[in-house]
């Protein structure tokens, strides 16, 4: 009578405006287990239209995310870390399935990713203090400078580290108050999709984070040239840097391009400084 139970497999989908649609194009592409020919999953292959939808969602989510207090944003990003902790084993297994990482290496990547969210979450209500200024003016004026988000940021996740390379790329933009459209690693996209499931349950307002899986060759030109994208973090896409920078010129997108280091300067690269003057007098 006893029969082996058939497990229920996950359909890997896009994450746009808080929902999990398949690509409107109906396309998917195969991801193989490590370097083998064994099929691991068939995530959605996002189209140009999916990208536009994601940008629109990010655009509309700006006011919600920017008007949230920095204390609130900080708690929400911290919540992502909390939710990830509960899914550790799934993240570890996915990293091992997609890469050559051993269990301990994969565990280290997951731990570092969680810790990195905690580190960045804490910056939300501090970045303005280390970067802003009260400027001593030669005259009777109160004058202060504070950083503000540029708006919608296109993020290129790093190709090799499916989870850490994703968090490293997207967290700084979010800390600054930007909303993001993220292109997941093309060959190792599964951790990004699982992370989007975490994000969906972490009180992040819909549209603040949008994650697309698919082919960089298809999506990159449209993300780089989209007139409603205000900035790009291209740290994870070194090989096409020149092409992206050139496509980004039309609306003067701000470009963040860093090595794998983490630094508050990475947050500030996607912020603009605003200076406000007011006269002092009776």
């Amino acid at each position: 009578m006893s029969q082996e139970r058939i497990d229920v497999k996950k359909t890997y989908k896009l994450f746009i405006n808080g929902a999990f649609p398949r690509s409107e194009s109906g396309r998917s592409y195969p991801i193989f287990r490590k370097a083998s020919k064994v099929l691991l999953a068939q995530p959605a292959q996002a189209s140009r239209k999916d990208l536009r939808d994601a940008v629109r969602a990010a655009r509309e989510a700006r006011s919600k995310w920017q008007s949230a207090t920095s204390y609130n944003r900080s708690q929400i990003l911290y919540r992502i870390a909390e939710m990830m902790e509960g899914r550790r084993s799934q993240f570890v297994e996915e990293i091992m399935a997609q890469t050559s990482a051993t269990k301990s290496v994969a565990e280290k990547e997951v731990s570092e990713s969680i810790d990195l969210w905690v580190w960045y979450a804490g910056w939300c209500d501090k970045i303005g203090q280390i970067s802003g200024a009260n400027n001593p003016i030669n005259g009777p004026f109160y004058n202060f400078t504070s950083p503000e988000p540029v708006g919608v940021v296109g993020v290129f996740a790093e190709p090799d580290f499916p989870l850490l390379g994703l968090v490293r790329a997207m967290a700084p933009a979010l800390v600054g108050g930007n909303t993001v459209v993220v292109l997941a690693s093309e060959k190792r996209p599964l951790s990004a999709i699982t992370l989007s499931e975490v994000i969906a349950t972490s009180d992040v307002p819909a549209g603040v984070i949008n994650i697309l899986t698919g082919l960089r060759s298809e999506l990159t030109p449209w993300l780089a040239s989209h007139m409603e994208v205000d900035g790009l973090d291209i740290s994870g896409e070194k090989s096409r840097s020149a092409e992206i920078r050139t496509l980004a010129t039309e609306n003067l997108k701000r470009i963040a391009d860093f090595n794998t280091s983490i630094s508050p300067n990475r947050i500030l690269a996607l912020m603009d400084q605003k200076t406000i003057w007011h006269p002092i007098g009776l």
């Binding site: 840097s241 090595n259 300067n265 200076t275």
Partner: protein, 496 residues
């Protein structure tokens, strides 16, 4: 009212031209010497208020730029990068002091060359330019506190292109932070306004600044294009139109070499119903007619709450009738000459489009000089957001007036532009000022004031008005790179 019958008419009070001596022609300033251009070309620089030729300016070509960049490189490697910050700072302090001593000379020369009133060059341009050198001099030995870590480094040779609207002040905004941070400079002044930059070169010589630390290559757009194309430059900074700024960005994007851009604007000046009206009228006038409206951050769109529109416009017109237009050398003049024939044509073309598209123009009935380039202060009412005069930068004394009903509508209209350089808010309610200042997408917000500048105050744009800041601690950052070892997490490099 006829001038003669008005007892409050000012008698002419011309500044003396004898304060300056202008040579009949000028060479380039390269490697600490004035040298004739290899291009052998020179072009006339005129006084836009009289169309008199002031001098012949050298047109720098590719060979000249090669020499300038080589000289800047040599100065960077042999001298400037080896000099401790406190010694670099002393040179900048010296320059500031020498400029103070010759401030009146600079003011007169700037007015003759640019056409802006002597009152503005004397009270604004020159003192602010000097403040920039003095302010940045003090940064030279404190760069570890600038925000790029404990051991920030200069880029090397910086190429800088500046506009004609504030010639010496824009030079100061560019040169002072570049030198304070330890870079050396190749600077190209604007085609129509080179004279104060060349006098500044003399000041650098008098200050004993080592040869090649600053090189000034005068010329036109082709000179600028050659500078941008030059492979020997490590970092660029440009102030000018959004169109040229974008072209520069396109030319440099693929190289990854850093560039700071301070570009155009279409500043909204919002007056709420609770504003102090007389102060606001004064601020609107200052916002758009200062420097003939040749100001990238000019408050060229006036957004009036609907219920105060008629009353406000009436007061504004009465105030504008008192603006004295004419001889820039007269100490009483408020509005001087338009900087060039080309700029005047652009202003005329755009104002004509305003009338064609249905806006209503008003100008005071003031006399204009017979020679030179002039444009009366102009207000357009009945303007909609779709009109060209509400969208495009006119860069002249032309104000477009729009209305709004709610604060939200004001912000929406103010932000409805690809520009984002500056904006103004007029209200007596503190919470409304702070709310509007937060909502406005612009790099500088003037609340109950307008067109104020200071060496310690960061200036620069959002969106297509450019990036990077000039002034203050923030203005140092584009001229420095981080060389400290950052915190690095594991997971570096490629994984197979």
């Amino acid at each position: 009212m006829k001038e003669s019958s008005n007892p409050f008419t000012y008698a002419p009070a011309p500044e003396s031209r004898e304060l300056v001596s202008i040579e009949s022609s000028y060479d380039l300033f390269i490697d600490g010497k004035f040298i004739a251009p290899k291009s052998k070309k020179r072009f006339p620089s005129i006084n836009p208020a009289t169309e008199e030729v002031l001098s012949k300016i050298s047109l720098g070509g590719k060979e000249d730029l090669d020499l300038a960049v080589k000289s800047a490189r040599r100065a960077y490697e042999k001298v400037w990068s080896k000099l401790p910050g406190k010694e670099r700072g002393k040179y900048l302090y010296r320059i500031a002091r020498l400029m103070q001593e010759r401030a009146r000379e600079f003011a007169v020369l700037e007015t003759l060359d640019n056409g802006k009133p002597i009152r503005e060059t004397r009270d604004t341009d020159i003192p602010l330019a000097i403040q920039h050198f003095f302010y940045h001099a003090g940064w030279a030995d404190k760069l570890e506190y600038a925000g790029h870590g404990s051991n920030p480094r200069a880029h090397g040779v910086v190429g800088q292109i500046i506009p004609w609207n504030f010639p010496l002040l824009m030079l100061a905004w560019k040169v002072a932070p570049a030198l304070a941070t330890g870079n050396t400079v190749v600077l190209k002044p604007a085609e129509t306004t080179s004279l104060t930059a060349l006098l500044f070169a003399q000041v650098c010589l008098d200050a004993g600044l080592p040869a090649g630390v600053i090189n000034i290559v005068t010329g036109d757009g082709t000179t600028g294009a050659s500078l941008i194309a030059h492979k020997g430059i490590d970092k660029f900074a440009f102030t000018g139109s959004t169109e040229v700024g974008k072209a520069i960005n396109r030319a440099l994007a693929a190289t990854g070499r850093p560039v700071t851009l301070e570009l155009g604007g279409k500043g909204a000046n919002i007056v709420f119903e609770d504003a102090a009206i007389d102060q606001a009228v004064e601020g609107i006038v200052q916002g758009i007619f200062f420097n003939q409206g040749h100001v990238c951050c000019a408050g060229s769109r006036l957004l009036l709450q609907e219920n105060i529109h008629d009353h406000f416009i009436e007061k504004l017109e009465r105030r504008i009738e008192k603006i004295r237009v004419g001889d820039p050398m007269d100490k009483n003049t408020d509005l001087g000459a338009i900087n060039s024939k080309e700029q005047l044509q652009k202003i005329v073309e755009l104002t004509q489009s305003g009338e064609v598209e249905g806006a209503k123009a008003w100008q005071p009935d003031c006399a204009l000089p017979s020679r030179g380039f002039w444009f009366r202060p102009t207000i357009f009412t009945n303007v909609t957001g779709a009109h060209r005069i509400a969208r495009e930068e006119i860069f002249g004394p032309v104000l477009s007036v729009l209305t709004f009903r709610t604060p939200q509508e004001a912000i929406e209209k103010a932000n409805n532009t690809p520009y984002g350089l500056a904006a103004g808010v007029w209200s007596e309610k503190g919470s409304r000022i702070l709310w509007a200042s937060r909502e406005l997408k612009a790099g500088v917000i003037w609340a109950n004031t307008y067109n104020k500048f200071d060496a310690a105050s960061p200036f620069g744009g959002y969106k297509e008005s450019g990036w990077g800041r000039e002034g203050g601690r923030h203005g140092l950052l584009p001229y420095l790179t981080q060389s400290q070892t950052p915190r690095v997490r594991s997971g570096k490099g490629a994984r197979k």
